[in-house]
Amino acid sequence: MNTSLYSDKSSQVLSPASVVSAGTTSNAGRLRRLREQLLGYLFLSPSLVVFILFLFYPMVRSVYLSFQLTDPRGRVAAYVGWDNYSRMIESSAFWNSIWITVKFTLLTVPAGLVLGLLCASLVHSTGRGSKIFRFIFSIPLALSVGTASILWMILYHPSLGMLNYLLGEFGIGPIEWLTDPGSALGSVSLMTIWMNSGFPFVLLLAAIQGLDNDVMDSSRIDGASMWRTFFSIKLPLLSPTLFFLAVVSIMSAFQSFGQINILTRGGPADSTNVLVYSIYREAFINYQFGTGSALAIVLFILMLLLTAVQFLALGKKVHYQ
């Protein structure tokens, strides 16, 4: 639709190729450069149109909306200045959802990295059957938030679920996985670690396989133990990948929504009300697009800070070959 508008222009730009050859030599050079210029923008235009309509414009509009009061249909009703922000900062629900988001990140990211590193190291040093294990640990890549959440919702069922049955066999439980405010966030985190475990594994395995085998072997020959080789050579060499993974996982933890919407809807007692869920609730359940946008801007600033940390830390603590 939008692109067709642009390709109309393209035919105008491209067809007068004869004009170029008709001009004098200096003119021809200038025309060729102009043509090159226009072609550059023509090739960029499809992406650019999408970015402008669905990223840049909405980004600006989010900032604008965060200073407004809106009616339930999303139309601006009144300018309220910083009111949306000041009310947000004063509300305990806001700080609660920030805290829940941070806790959720701490519960999922380190565990996910350790699990990925463990699986990747084991698979790499496996001789027979390593291909099978590689495929098995990659399987979670195919999982989606919808299917994984439904599956775990059934596993987590307090009286009839498989998890409580198995734990019961060991004399533990029954655990109120999703209905107890004390355990709900942990349960959602456990399922999230499982669902997301494919990505760190795949990335770390590729990184380990890319390490220089000679360095590993010579350290082994020098008599360094497996653990020493791992901690003093492998880990530093893997640090760029681990660091990248940490940043990406933190960002994705900050953006989690689906599993919370399906498993707990932010409850019980707001114990799983992460930031993105509170944006969703504010804007699309309470129809408060103004305050919802203010929350979205907070999310944006947090992401920006995380990216800044990434750039600052890069080249300092992380080892590059």
Binding site: P58, M59, S62, L118, L122, V145, F254
Partner: protein
């Protein structure tokens, strides 16, 4: 070389495989549960203590799931959505990446920096205005509303740009000398050569489209437009459905993803690692 890096001592070998099998059980456990449940009769599935294995390969619940829920409709919608986003993103990304690598135009560095900076904008931050935009265009509950906002991605541009830069420059010069314009060069030289990178991007984009949750949740409302992820999540609210009916639905939805993973694991891994190492 390899012989040095894996354990040969029997005790170590035992603990090595023991740990691997334990981890396998953790990763596969929920999926094995799913696999056993879907072949149970409703009576078997509702027993307590729960049965671990079905008594036979009962496929009644799978059929039941297909009959009671428009599951193939959901799958069709998601397939159309994911395929369209995949084709559009690969195409727009290839065009933009081509411009950044082969066309000399002023401002190209600025635009590249701007493109890359969009990766910092979380999609959730733009979701309220995007919802309002799509609503005002009358695109709610339509394929264009689901597809067009995702027709381009900075990640795709970045990935393909990296790949194009590695293509031998001589090919480009030879084509220019032959009087080949940018369009012909793009279509007949660069696109055919970009197969591996485009495949990586395509698998990645398709899976992301197939797994989309928040946007379809907001913009679709009729059963006819529901995607798999939303459709499957709706099953849980149907009061009368039995567990293994829901799980049968989940299994059916997972089949295409697994097929794609089986076929596309290699390009997918290559895409992920290329994005990560350079990113």
């Amino acid at each position: 070389m390899k012989a040095l890096s894996h354990p040969r001592n029997p005790l170590r070998l035992f603990s090595h495989y023991g740990l691997l099998i334990l981890l396998t059980l953790l990763v596969l456990g929920p999926l094995l549960y799913l696999l056993t449940q879907i072949f149970m009769t409703p009576d078997e599935a509702s027993q307590y203590p729960p049965k671990l294995l079905p008594s036979g390969l009962y496929t009644g619940e799978l059929k039941n799931a297909i009959e009671t829920v428009p599951i193939f409709g959901f799958i069709f919608n998601s397939f159309v959505l994911a395929t369209a986003i995949m084709v559009l993103q690969v195409l727009t990304a290839a065009l933009a990446a081509y411009a950044f690598v082969y066309i000399r135009f002023s401002g190209s560095r600025f635009w590249f920096a701007l493109f890359i900076s969009t990766m910092m904008i979380p999609w959730e931050v733009t979701i309220i205005p995007n919802y309002l935009t799509v609503k005002s265009w009358g695109w709610l509950d339509s394929f264009q509303g689901l597809i067009v906002p995702f027709a381009a991605s900075a990640f795709g541009v970045f990935l393909l740009r990296q790949f194009f830069m590695q293509l031998p420059r001589e090919l480009f010069e030879a084509a220019r000398i032959d009087g080949c314009g940018h369009f012909r060069h793009f279509v007949s030289v660069v696109l055919p050569l970009s197969g591996p990178a485009a495949a990586s991007l395509a698998v990645y984009v398709f899976l992301n489209g197939w797994n989309q949750y928040l946007w379809p949740l907001l913009t679709t409302s009729s059963d006819a437009m529901r995607t798999v992820q939303i459709g499957i999540a709706m099953l849980q609210f149907e009061e009368l459905t039995s567990w293994n009916l829901v799980l049968s639905g989940v299994a059916l939805v997972l089949v295409p993803s697994f097929v794609l993973l089986g076929l596309g694991l290699k390009p997918l891994v290559r895409g992920i690692t290329a994005g990560a190492v350079k990113g």
